[in-house]
Amino acid sequence: MFDDFFIRALIAGIGVALVTGPLGCFVVWRRLSYFGDTLSHSALLGVTIAYSFELNIAVSVFLISSIIALFLIQLQKKTNLPGDALLGLLAHSSLAVGLVVIGFLTFIRFDIMGLLFGDILAVTVKDLTIIWFGGALILLVLKLIWKPLFASTVNYELAEAEGLNPDRAKAIFTILMAAIIAISIKMVGLLLITGMLIIPAAMARNISDNPKKMVLFAIIGGLLSVIIGLFSSLEFNTASGPSIITASLILFILSLLKIKQSIQLKN
């Protein structure tokens, strides 16, 4: 059954959604959505490098995104430019450089649309292995750094004062962000990965009153988005990434109704 491309895409998508749920919550809590954009835009450069040197795309994207993330942290320390300007600088310049490099690689035929918006036809059995093993590893590491990461999200100084080492947790989390982008790029496409991270988490925020519930609902929302999105992608012959994100948007809108309800209840 694994040679059916749709089943492969479904299994890949489910694997991605299980990881984007908890990571996405942290992206929302820590206000990192633009940071996610920067990393995913820089992924294009990673993809082109993978093609140039015949490397594995996920590995190459992971390395390039990690380097960009570390570079960003250095720039933040050394310049007085505001954070969002630096993010924009890195996001657009790495996207531009990636596209320029593609222009030079005339000997390879690129499916740019597939890269930007995801392509379920492209998911191989090897990709599945990377998604599920990589995803499990990401979740394991996230579980290990959960306490310091969460505590410092609530209040950095409290976490630092009470000996939780929030800086290390933050650095590890940055690497995890690069990793999730690397494993989900084929599925969602690099322009829409941040959407996969934040929209289910935002939906979950609307219907939860504590952090664990929010993570759980974000995972469920992500799973539903992937399943609904992929089926409609097959049905209407639309790109997989936009279909998944549209499905998550619909879930988000539905969650707004719940907010409205609870506000009415209070009155």
């Binding site: 609530v154 004062a161 009470e162």
Partner: protein, 248 residues
């Protein structure tokens, strides 16, 4: 040797600067087990900065900090909880330490907010939140408590009760407390050692010594030193948690 053993945190000539401006400089102090050290001083005198130096939040400092414990409870001066984070009091209590339900309940009832356990942190009043902050800090039974204006926004009777609780905790847990407060009156009565700051250490010593000090009078006015005489005669009794008054 024994004094070394009792020391929890020690600052030697410590200072911290930001944007080429010294927030505080030349601070030496020591917090020992079972002792309360209070930092007083006007706004911007470097009280919170000193606390953060002691806690190791500021790392690029001048001078030396030695910390002999890892069991630290901290009540920061300001904590703002973002709406994007759904957080109940219960979740907040286990932020830095995995506590059992009993320990959470005990700490919350000590500060009188057990009924708020399942409430959203964002819906608490200022005083309620302050009580939760204090409960969280003491719930992990720390060896060192750093309290940065722990009773701000708490009603008057609550304020006195909380200061008494702090004193009680220091005795029962035998933990050292670094306390920052504006409320000279209440604080002076429970303190073992006072450090009066204004960008540097103006004077320090026992509450009585400090109150008599000229620099202290210059900083807080003549009235402030009279406060001490008000409290001195209160030394002959203690207030139990139920509001009962006991003679010493």
């Amino acid at each position: 040797m024994s004094s070394k053993k009792n020391t929890l945190v020690k600052l030697e000539n410590a200072g911290y600067s930001q944007n080429n401006k010294w927030l505080v400089r030349g601070v030496s102090l020591e917090v020992e087990k079972g002792k309360i050290v209070t930092l007083i001083g006007p706004n911007g005198s470097g009280k919170s900065t000193t606390a953060k130096i002691a806690l190791g939040i500021y790392k690029k400092i001048e001078g030396k900090v030695e910390k002999y414990t890892k069991k630290v409870g901290y009540v920061p001066q300001k904590v703002s909880i973002d709406w994007t984070l759904p957080l109940r009091v219960n979740d907040f209590m286990v932020l830095t330490e995995n506590l059992k339900g009993d320990a959470i309940n005990e700490a919350l009832s000590l500060t009188g907010v057990e009924h708020l356990k399942n409430k959203n942190l964002g819906n608490l009043s200022g005083g309620e939140f302050q009580r939760v902050l204090l409960a969280r800090a003491i719930s992990k039974k720390p060896e060192l408590l750093v309290l940065d204006e722990p009773v701000q926004g708490v009603d008057f009777t609550g304020e006195i009760a909380l200061y008494e609780l702090i004193k009680k905790i220091s005795d029962e847990l035998n933990c050292g407390i670094l306390l920052i407060s504006h409320d000279l009156h209440t604080v002076m009565s429970a303190t073992d050692h006072v450090v009066c700051l204004n960008g540097h250490v103006c004077c320090s010593g026992s509450p009585i010594d400090v109150a008599k000090n000229m620099e202290y009078k210059a900083l807080f006015g003549e009235q402030a030193s009279q406060i001490l005489s008000v409290y001195e005669h209160r030394h002959d009794h203690v207030h139990s948690n139920e509001g009962e008054i006991k003679k010493n």
